[in-house]
């Protein structure tokens, strides 16, 4: 009865909200988006290399296609960084950091590599980004008590990714 009265009052006057703030319904954290994004960066570099080799003319069609590869590379490098930042900032708690004291350094390394693959076309840096995010993924799943496995991604460039072994 009292609830109904307050509810009607809320609908008419709007009672201020107080947040029992939680990352629910988020609580859904998964490094796979970052892993796939990093893989996409490698894929774009491979496509750029192939395209450059088979297209002698540096005409507007060439510029257009190359620009599109670069744009996707930029977007996915940034997405990988953003996804890792969210898990690092929102999910990892003090008890995780005590257990994984290297976490901050690993995230910093991912941020640096993420920037490097935007600035350059160095495939080696991009594969290092994939591997650093794999390392992060392994740590992430361990914090949840979930075993991991390594398997080749079922699409080009078919690099190994760390997956939860469910």
């Amino acid at each position: 009865m009292i609830y109904q009265i307050l509810n009607i009052f809320d609908q008419k006057v709007h009672i201020e909200t107080v947040k029992a703030h939680c990352d629910i319904p988020c609580g859904i954290y998964d490094p796979i988006v970052a892993q796939i994004s990093a893989l996409t960066v490698v894929r774009m570099l491979d496509l750029m290399t192939e395209f450059e080799a088979k297209t002698p003319d540096r005409n507007k069609e060439y510029m257009n296609s190359m620009s599109r590869y670069i744009a996707v590379k930029e977007e996915h490098a940034e997405r990988a960084k953003a996804e890792i930042r969210v898990i690092w900032g929102d999910y990892l708690k003090a008890q995780h950091l005590e257990k994984y004291p290297n976490a901050h350094a690993l995230v910093h390394k991912i941020m640096q590599l993420g920037s490097k693959v935007r600035q350059t076309t160095d495939r080696e840096q991009a594969t290092q980004l994939v591997e650093a995010i794999n390392e992060f993924a392994q740590m992430f799943w361990e914090t949840k008590g979930i075993a991991t496995k390594r398997a080749k991604a079922p699409y080009a460039p078919a690099l190994e990714l760390v997956y939860p072994a469910l």
Partner: protein, 97 residues
């Protein structure tokens, strides 16, 4: 002195759920200082008006607050709460029907 607030979020579930109303007041703290177990509403910079349970009082007088859920955003994330940021203690909890 007295304010009705509507709860959003689930960090204090199952005790406090989304849609519940609470009546908060500072008056109880004029009589008895905040103590562990009290559920309080407070202003947290960057997060707005939050509701959490006091877990303990730090040596510097700050309040360590916590939610029930492991993913709760609480003192584990933003540190202790200053007493001056407290809006009040929950003195009445009206559950969603």
């Amino acid at each position: 002195m007295l304010r009705f607030l509507k709860v959003t979020g689930d960090s204090l579930a199952p005790e406090y759920r989304e849609g519940d109303f609470v009546l908060v007041s500072k008056i109880p703290f004029f009589l008895v200082p905040p103590s562990p177990g009290d559920v309080i509403a407070f202003h947290q910079p960057g997060y707005g008006l939050l509701i959490k349970r006091i877990q303990n009082i730090s040596p510097d007088g700050g309040l360590k607050v916590i939610g029930n859920h492991p993913e709760s955003i609480d003192s584990r994330v933003f540190g202790t709460v200053r007493r001056g940021d407290i809006l009040g203690k929950v003195i009445w909890h009206i559950r969603k029907a």
